[in-house]
Point group: D2
Chain length 252, copies 4
């Protein structure tokens, strides 16, 4: 790729990890970006600033990310963060650092899959128009938690939308239930967790009213699917100073 004047200069932190490596490939392949630094444990951050990085993408570890953020904000470098482990305290701390640097932006996103983000947006929007809604999430059998984080978050969004619309409990005449048949109750929304070999990561949100159903389904097969969301973050973060949580608000 040629070094065009308009290219966004990107440094990747955690560049040797599985996600970081994908990010490097994706940035390198993007026509409007230039990969100027690939750093991992043991590398010095100032190499990235010497390379004039405008945006960092951080897929490191909960242990390392806060130091990275402090340094980057200090240097006036915006950051797109996919590293996990952000508590409210950490978010407050980042907000504080950013307050002192008005032009710098940080995006902290738990999920960079555009499909997943859209699924949640659509689910929240449809919720007020249907009598019933249930979630069926399906994952590989090595997953430790049930339901998945994404389905739990979707259920919260739906419950909130139903409450705001003044909808009561959903119709359900179940009298005799074998334990567990009706799924987990998350904020009044039933969530069913399927675990089977051959599955990767899938979620279906089923809405129903008399005579019709609307189903929103997301199938995620590969972490490469997160790259369009990461690139979207890189492109938009320069126009979004301050802290943004969730990729959601970057989708116009």
């Amino acid at each position: 790729m040629t070094n065009q004047a308009e290219s966004i200069r990107v440094g990747v932190l955690g560049a040797r990890g599985r996600m970081g490596l994908e990010v490097c490939k994706a940035v390198d392949a993007a026509g409007d970006m230039e990969l100027v630094a690939m750093l991992d444990q043991g590398d010095e951050l100032f190499k990235a600033s010497e390379a004039h990085a405008q945006v960092f993408v951080d897929f490191t570890t909960p242990d390392a990310v806060m130091d990275n953020l402090r340094w980057a904000v200090d240097q006036g470098i915006s950051v797109v963060v996919g590293t996990t482990g952000f508590t409210d305290e950490r978010l407050s701390q980042v907000r504080e650092w950013l307050a002192a640097k008005p032009g710098v932006g940080v995006l902290v996103a738990p999920n960079f899959g555009l499909g997943a983000v859209l699924m949640m947006q659509f689910a929240a929007r449809a919720a007020r128009y249907f009598d019933s809604v249930e979630i069926i999430e399906q994952h590989h059998p090595r997953k430790l938690d049930a339901p998945s984080g994404t389905s739990t978050h979707t259920a919260h969004l739906i419950a909130q939308a139903r409450a705001e619309a003044g909808l009561g409990p959903m119709p359900d005449a179940t009298k005799e239930e074998v334990d567990g048949a009706r799924g987990a109750d998350i904020d009044g929304v039933r969530v069913h967790s399927v675990r089977a070999a051959g599955l990767v990561a899938h979620q279906e949100v089923l809405f129903g009213s008399l005579g019709e159903t609307l189903t929103i389904r997301h199938d995620s097969l590969d972490r490469v699917s997160f790259m369009p969301g990461v690139l979207l973050g890189v492109r938009k973060i320069l126009e979004r100073p301050g802290l943004t949580v969730g990729l959601d608000s970057f989708l116009d």
Copy 2:
């Protein structure tokens, strides 16, 4: 319809009920059958024998069906039975009556939906070839029991096939589970019951091994879907003396 020599002469018992009425219409529309009697509560059965019925279809009530069967078998009339409430005792009784009438056949079937019967056959056959299998059944919210009878029966068939093939428990690393998320455990097979407005009666059986899944899904929207199964029963019962339980064995 003209009275062709080859037509099967059919009498319908419970002809004014919802299912009985559908059966009358279906028999009437079938090119190879003649509807010779439509009887319901208050009508005398001998009218059907006067009309030379060869086969009865019985969609009456648990209270009435045994008297109907005794009389029909006595008269040498074969019977296709959709009425519910057949215990092992009742089946033994019918077998006894039939023993004295070697040419007569009785079919007692809990489900005349060809799609449902095939789904169960396919599920039982696929079970030995996959590491994982789960069932998701979906019904209207007025349903009282969860899981459905059909899904419970399917789970039993699958469990039996897995045991015969020497398969152990399915892979499942779930450590943290919100109560109910992983569904009901029916003979070691997880069954998830979705209830939502807009649904009628649906079932999905999901098989999975590393890298692939096989899904068998049945959607039933209307009781008219049972008619091909009833007509199949009428056509075959004349060649199947004795008692048959389940439409299954009539599908060659």
Copy 3:
């Protein structure tokens, strides 16, 4: 239902038709409406104005609907119209009538199914974020046209969204094609029309990018599913003077 001060007083035109009858039942069952007139061919419209109807719902015929609209607008009665056959000329005419009656509103909607309307909104919104999109619509085999009107409309919306986002043609390496395999080309979007007994009216919009797919599916089983959309139209039309085309903009 009691005649509450706050109830919206509704008159139904075409009340003996299949849709009209459903509308009458739905209005009657709605807690915030009062069914004050049920009119059909041969009935005089002034009966509805004598009954102080505030809103008309018109499910009549292309022959009758323009006269009904003229009269209603003249009387200051707002109208929710499900009758088909609206050309640009007819819409201009209605706009002209409404110009003289500033407080009156008319909603002309080709589809009152909230699920279908949401499916189209979501499809238009998701279109810019994915490399590929195809539509699979499935209907009963008595349908005369393929693809369906709804799928054609969805394809137009998607094509427009992709164009606005500057997306080029979708990836497709097909070299050898049996005629028709790749479906109909509607504005560059492939649409596949399935026709089978047992189906009613279904549509699936499949979006895909490397590593993930997002699917939006609508299943419509019964015309009763249009009633929530009709009632939404009745509730909102009093606050929406002028002409509105499509239920779309009534969903906030």
Copy 4:
């Protein structure tokens, strides 16, 4: 793995290819097999016979496979073949070689995916019981042919089963069709080919009669899914002398 007396001794031809490598891993991991030879271009076949291989698995090339087969049959080694390019002439040639070696077996299979094989078996079996059937196959956009080989084969099987059952053409009232909307006509069965980024290899067979549908769906995500079928072939080929075409008949 220890060299148990009961282990099947397996040699893999084409061991450095993508499929061959997976086979080596699968054989190595199987408790009842021993991987005794891994050969590829440039290696001498006699090494495998020196290692006392009982079964070969051949994933080589159309150029190499016939020589491999001749040598193996000659040596009394049975072969499971996944290599493509088998014409009727080639199959006749193999049959001739086997005629001279009564104890040796060869399995030539175009598809080792158990899910795909079962899907086709189930489709052929269900075909006679439904009024309508259509096939929707979905693949990544780099695929060159439409419809896929598997869907074409499935359509042939369905058409044959319908003909044997005396079923006529399917109901279809389509009058106005945008070119291609109704898919490709393969032996009277409509096949729809969806191509989209994010897809891998999927097929859905939809059966329908009045009031119900039965859907059989296969999703293949990874070539690792062929391994259970290859291992099944290895286990059974020793009891199946002569030529077998298709994994189908090895599923009891």
